[in-house]
Symmetry: C2
């Protein structure tokens, strides 16, 4: 049951931190029992790690906090439709609900691309809610790439 | 150009280390200029991290070693067909060649499942060689799951 946009706003604040540091502005939070237990943003450049997406970092932190590789009582809020890497990480961690903001035609793997959770072999399918705070979550990513246009070094 | 199975044997040694510690026995190595620059194995349980697959750990270490999130002059050798999480991580890191051992009908995402690199939006497609040292790489994973049968706590 979606109880409001406060957690997506917190994810947006994480996304803004990423953008301020010239990282692709994507943020995420994981909640448990109605409270945030981990929050992070894209840190590919800072961590020099192509796997350092907001969702992966959040899942890792939440698993350590709960001492469990299964997060089946947790929800994740992410400002951008997860890519296949993050979607499979969500499947492995058995996160209960996935809320995401902007749709991503290029790398999204939920409603775009390989649509991972529609695949017959997906070991876990969370409840999925897309388009949360869609206007703001779309604006932050579009603005970032508009400003980048014509510059080298764009990466996700 | 595939120059022999020595790197896959090194990946198999990593897989065996994982199995000895009750981790799913998958190992990987990344090579650069004909030498191994990172090697790791599944550490989901030990690291309490559902994303701690051999490939992710190898990519992270190699990126830090080369101070680059692009590993476009590197090859990866992994004992099991990568899952969607690892396949997308390989795409993001632009690894040049992917060599894998056993095929994985359950979680594999190269020749099985979502076949990530066949998707029209894949941003990078490595050269792909499957079935390297297939007998040994298949045996190690099958033996592990045969021994597990009937026991709880199986995870990948």
């Amino acid at each position: 049951m979606y109880k409001g946009n406060a957690f997506m706003v917190a994810a947006l604040e994480e996304a803004m931190k990423a953008g301020q540091n010239d990282e692709v502005p994507v943020g995420a939070v994981i909640t448990y029992n109605g409270a945030i237990i981990s929050q992070s943003h894209n840190l590919v450049r800072k961590n020099m790690d192509p796997t350092a997406h907001a969702e992966v970092l959040c899942i890792r932190a939440a698993s350590q906090k709960l001492s469990s590789y299964y997060l089946d009582e947790c929800d994740i809020y992410v400002t951008l439709e997860p890519c296949a890497m993050c979607a499979q990480a969500i499947a492995f961690s058995k996160i209960k609900r996935l809320y995401f903001g902007a749709y991503d035609e290029k790398f999204g793997a939920i409603e775009n691309g390989v649509r991972l959770f529609n695949a017959p072999i997906s070991n876990h399918k969370p409840e999925i809610y897309g388009g949360i705070e869609q206007e703001k979550t779309t604006e932050i990513i579009q603005t970032f790439f508009s400003n980048k246009r014509g510059r080298a070094g764009i990466l996700l």
